[in-house]
Symmetry: C2
Subunit: 193 residues, 2 copies
């Protein structure tokens, strides 16, 4: 039983890496069959369809991002520093480790159309979840006195999302540029000042 779940989880993670790198349409089921070492029948028995599998990888990705955010928070002395670390890690750290410099959710929203309405909606929903977490952290930062209370956490969270999306897209468009740290610090200066 446990090995079954483990295998399923491992399969999802490998599929996530593939989809994350190449996108939904450019990743074929045969690519996935090879990557997770399963035959078509087993895959369709487990996940139903390519869309079903992709949806699970989106959820797995979002969950992993949440875990990474929590790790950044625990490694930092305050909510705001945790956020800064998370963003730096997302924009810079993922350069060599992650399959694509882009956020998988943004990449999905960028790629898909109404032809895959359910997947599009799921990606949007998961992004809202991230923004909700940002709101909570910014409220926490306000309560710590780390952030003044004149601005609404909702608005700042939106701002953070825009910055994170923009920075990751820019980083992907200009691979090899080493001046991203300065840009990220700018973001936080604007948030605080």
């Amino acid at each position: 039983m446990s090995t079954v779940k483990h295998d399923r989880q491992e399969a999802i993670q490998r599929a996530t890496d593939l989809f994350w790198e190449k996108g939904f349409h450019a990743t074929s089921m045969r690519n996935i069959q090879q990557a997770i070492d399963m035959r078509p029948g087993s895959i369709y028995a487990s996940f139903g369809s390519k869309e079903g599998l992709f949806k699970e990888t989106l959820q797995d990705y979002a969950k992993a991002s949440g875990i990474r955010l929590n790790a950044c928070l625990e490694a930092s002395s305050s909510p705001l520093e945790g956020l800064r670390l998370f963003i730096k890690d997302s924009v810079i750290g993922c350069r060599e480790s992650a399959p694509s410099g882009m956020c998988m959710l943004v990449k999905t929203i960028s790629e898909l159309t109404d032809e895959n309405a359910e997947l599009l909606a799921e990606a949007k929903r998961l992004l809202v979840g991230v923004e909700t977490k940002f709101i909570a952290l910014l409220e926490q930062a306000q309560q710590c006195g780390e952030l003044d209370r004149s601005k609404s956490p909702q608005r700042m969270a939106r701002y953070l999302q825009v910055q994170l999306m923009g920075l990751r897209a820019y980083a992907r468009a200009n691979e090899g540029d080493d001046q991203l740290n300065a840009l990220i610090d700018d973001v936080f200066d604007h948030l605080c000042g």
Copy 2:
């Protein structure tokens, strides 16, 4: 001769709309055949391959964006106001008119991998062209006294690119949100202050 060129230009524009909306991989040559009313042989005689056609649409898109930027500048009283108008138009105005809320160049960079290295490089190259135009305009704004000279135009242009990419991605992820104007004004306040 003129009708031939016109037809070719019209074909490229229709192909651009298709690629812009659905992306490179999800757009089939048969979709394009129907949209531009040409048979495979003629298309391949004109453009060589799907990649060749896509490359031309990227260039056409970038050219059209340049024209739109110039129009914004002429409609405004200063370089900085022109830029602000351009960004508002890009993020908000394209909501109902454009095939996709995303910038086609960013969407392409997000979608493609090294499997289409030439197209990826072309999209990056064209984005650098946009940034170069931003730099020139910001220098112009400095010379007009519209912008103080303490910050480097290069750095501000990079910042602008990040904002534009982030705003358009965010707008696509949150269609129906009416609070983008405030976000855009924030961007310019940070640029000036």
